[in-house]
């Protein structure tokens, strides 16, 4: 491209009168070759435009970003939670009741054991006493 032509095109460009085709010619001229000193400033300009045109977005687009709440399944799940919850709760209550009963039973058993032990002791003592009486009776009988 002749220098003269490029200068004319440039003037037209800055007046905002160039077509896209003409602008492509200017861009091509300034980004692919060495230019005369008095046009160097424009090389920066069109280099900048080319650079900015090459910029790319790095983030992939996500289309199904919003998570929809499945209300139908949510209600069914909630029902299960309630049923399971009450079952477990009842179970828990039964277990504590059972444990309490077992404890009561054991305490009663212990108490009864204690009583029977003491009772046995006293029976033994009575037996000894009886023996003592038998012997005295024997002695007193002989003396009569």
């Amino acid at each position: 491209m002749e220098l003269n032509n490029i200068e004319k095109l440039l003037d037209k460009y800055f007046e905002g009168a160039t077509s896209l085709n003409e602008e492509a010619i200017i861009r091509q001229y300034f980004t692919t070759q060495k230019v005369p000193a008095h046009l160097e400033a424009y090389q920066d300009l069109f280099g900048y435009y080319a650079f900015k045109n090459a910029e790319e977005s790095n983030k992939p687009i996500v289309l199904n970003k919003k998570f929809k709440v499945p209300y139908k399944w949510l209600s069914i799940a909630a029902m299960f939670v309630v049923v399971l919850g009450s079952y477990l709760y009842k179970n828990q209550v039964d277990k504590t009741k059972q444990a309490q009963l077992l404890k009561d039973y054991q305490t009663t058993q212990q108490a009864l054991e204690l009583i029977s032990n003491n009772l046995n002791k006293s029976t033994f003592a009575f037996a000894q006493l009886q023996e003592f009486e038998n012997t005295t009776n024997k002695i007193f009988k002989e003396n009569e």
Partner: protein, 169 residues
């Protein structure tokens, strides 16, 4: 419309959407979020999309409006606007300095333009849309688009030459 057909229709201009969002919101992350948001909106009205002659122009209009809303809600909270503006432009400056000093130079000039001028430059000089399409996207008449664009280009030219001469001297 199936997901595959939808993606074929809308994915080709994803980067254009992203770049316009970045031009308007400055921050990279916010531009990514805005792009994601726009595609969700498009997906939610996928049945309606077939009616539009130019889905791309429609999407570009939507992202432009979305970004304007974002900027408005930020402006309501003045403190965060100042703060995020500062950090965002700083971060993008750092990036461009690493890449090329000349890109940074032009970037500053463009950032100094009005919001509408920036939009025109983005749509015409970076994305290469026809005036007709730019008019559709921005809601401005075609003649007004031409005027705004040539004004923007002239400001850029003046600033560019000024900076360049300063660099030589």
């Amino acid at each position: 419309m199936h997901q595959e057909a939808f993606l074929q229709l809308v994915m080709p201009f994803k980067n254009k959407v992203y770049r316009l969002a970045k031009r308007m919101l400055i921050s990279n992350d916010e531009a990514e979020d805005a792009t994601q948001e726009l595609y969700l909106k498009l997906w939610n009205q996928k049945e309606k999309l077939i009616q539009y002659q130019n889905v791309e122009a429609y999407a570009m209009t939507m992202i432009k409006n979305y970004c304007l809303d974002q900027l408005k809600s930020k402006r309501a909270d003045n403190l965060t606007l100042v703060y995020s503006n500062y950090t965002a432009s700083d971060a993008s400056l750092e990036k461009t300095i690493e890449l090329q000093d000349s890109i940074d130079k032009v970037h500053q000039i463009i950032e100094g333009l009005t919001a509408q001028q920036k939009l025109m430059i983005q749509l015409r000089d970076i994305e290469q849309y026809e005036f007709e399409e730019i008019a559709e996207i921005t809601g401005v008449k075609e003649a007004a688009v031409r005027v705004a664009l040539s004004r923007a280009r002239q400001i850029v030219r003046e600033q560019l030459i000024k900076k360049h001469q300063y660099g030589i001297k």
